[in-house]
Symmetry: C4
Subunit: 197 residues, 4 copies
């Protein structure tokens, strides 16, 4: 069994997730510029989640590119990842509508944490199937993959004290995935290939 239909189905689910989030952005009844102000936190949390789903789509793309075969374990590890990502719109809406309050912010981090764990499990399942060679080399020490869950855990804790610290951490982790890889990509081409931007 090859990876084509798994990729197509995952692309479909990710495309829907990234798009239905915008339904949280409800048109206000008034038509003044002021009426848009309460939507700003909703828009910002939408933007954050848009970037995260974009990163996952990108990394997922690269990881499956390195895989040649799909077995039952990989299929379910993939669905497990999609399950956690499908909860992102819910957490995004709750966090945005409540102006980054403590509990919604912590829940958002929890879902990012679980998605990172699910991604790691999927990576393991693909490595096991392919004899640990290609993807193992590609992933390398996977510093970012190990650092992200630790930072999410910190953000979850921080949410109960100063929730803006959590937001800074969420933005920082997104930047870690976004920015340096592009630089690395230009310099070293395919090093760390499975998770580059």
């Amino acid at each position: 069994m090859n990876t084509t239909r798994l990729e197509a189905f995952s692309d479909g689910v990710l495309a829907i997730i990234i798009t239905i989030m915008v339904l949280e952005l409800r048109a206000p009844h008034e038509t003044s510029i002021m009426a848009l102000r309460p939507l700003l936190p909703v828009l910002l949390s939408y933007l954050l989640s848009f970037v995260y789903i974009g990163i996952y789509w990108n990394n997922h793309h690269h990881m499956l590119h390195a895989a040649q075969r799909v077995n039952g374990g990989i299929m379910w590890a993939n669905l497990h990842l999609l399950f956690w990502l499908s909860l992102v719109p819910f957490a995004t809406g709750w966090m945005g509508e409540n102006h980054f309050a403590a509990v919604p912010t912590a829940l958002y981090g929890t879902i990012l944490f679980m998605a990172a764990v699910a991604y790691w499990i999927l990576q393991r399942a693909i490595m096991t199937e392919h004899g640990n060679d290609l993807l193992t080399k590609a992933v390398g020490i996977d510093l970012k993959g190990k650092l992200s869950p630790v930072l999410y855990a910190l953000a979850i804790l921080a949410a109960f004290f100063y929730s803006w610290i959590s937001q800074v951490i969420y933005v920082a982790v997104a930047l870690i995935w976004l920015l340096p890889d592009r630089r690395i990509e230009l310099v070293m081409q395919d090093e760390d290939g499975s998770r580059q931007m």
Copy 2:
């Protein structure tokens, strides 16, 4: 006519079904952890349906892999299956929001029952087109395919007495499809290939 576009369309519909279910999980207005408690049954019924749609996607994938041609009968048998699966989000939402009450639980079972029947009809239509050889061998005695509707029928009855029994049955049927096949897959590779996980 080949199976590519049929698979692509089915993947699209299944990806949408699996994702729009999460829209039932509405962000609460309060921001305490307690505000999440009433959402727990909604989340659990979402998880159950997510797994069921995942199983259907998987089995559908395998079955169409064995098919080489598509005729009008197969197309409509496939749309018939998608119709019943498209009702899963409705039953999931009704069951979750009403904390697994009797009638919604029975309706959920009825839709699973009808989807199982529709799957069986689709299987028959593919077998007839392909001369009963390849898929017939792959499906074998299809114990799980025959057992599932019986268990759904039991769950529908049980819902009117103790609806938790129905829930146990729904989880059990999902596990029947999930767990042993993975084991079988590792041991026997392609035996029962059309419906493995």
Copy 3:
């Protein structure tokens, strides 16, 4: 330019149209079987539209199968068809929620009429591009394609007198497309190939 991406995009839009219609089927607050009764007309109109979108997907599939090239005119004729079909969920919901009242029933017929016209325009655009030979032969006299708009027009008129007559016509047109083609397909294989079931 080939037809692959046009088919993929159309499949995506049709898959979304066929699935979001089910969002009209809102979970009732009560949990008795009686609570489902007011949903029956909504479910029936969903079923009718599901079959119609299925027929369009099927015919669209066959027609594009006969096309080798896509030009700007075909692209926009295709989007024009998708526009009218995208209004089907709206008319379906309005008609179902109001128990097949006169004006919603007439609107439903109007949208089916416009979709039929749009399909005919798309067929013309493909014929013009391909020199009238392949598809022209396949379409033949296209009795069903000519009869359907006439029947829709009758149904629109009838809606203002007895709206059940309109419903009978809608079901009848769906059956015209569904039933005989399957028979023809078995007997004559690829005659009338562009619009068979």
Copy 4:
């Protein structure tokens, strides 16, 4: 890395955007023809946005046809474009429900402006990757690509004085993209190929 999955993902997102907009068209509770009147501006703004998303899909299709490779920069430039386009349903709903009031009309123009900028950035990213030859020749002086943002800016300003002027501009820009290219296509075939209809 090739363009296939990028196209598939973009097609998915655009198909969802173009279809969920119709959810703004809510079925009225009454069943008279008069009940449809307040929906007319919603329908008209839906039609306008449908055409714009159709134009973007078309142009995107052509541009990626000229690209052979995708790098990280192109991927993110593409997601950036999809982000702005994903805000179109929000602005469409707000503008339609408020009968083309000043601020919603200006916001609509702002999102079209940002999408045009994002498209230009994506075009640049593809040109840089491919050594400025193929697409550069195809794009040519790209008069329409340069004119559109200027016209959007004018429309944003005009919205605060006479919002119907803005609407005329939005329709005019859509026509600029729609009409002449079809003519050009017939006469000159592949000149200005990257953005033809």
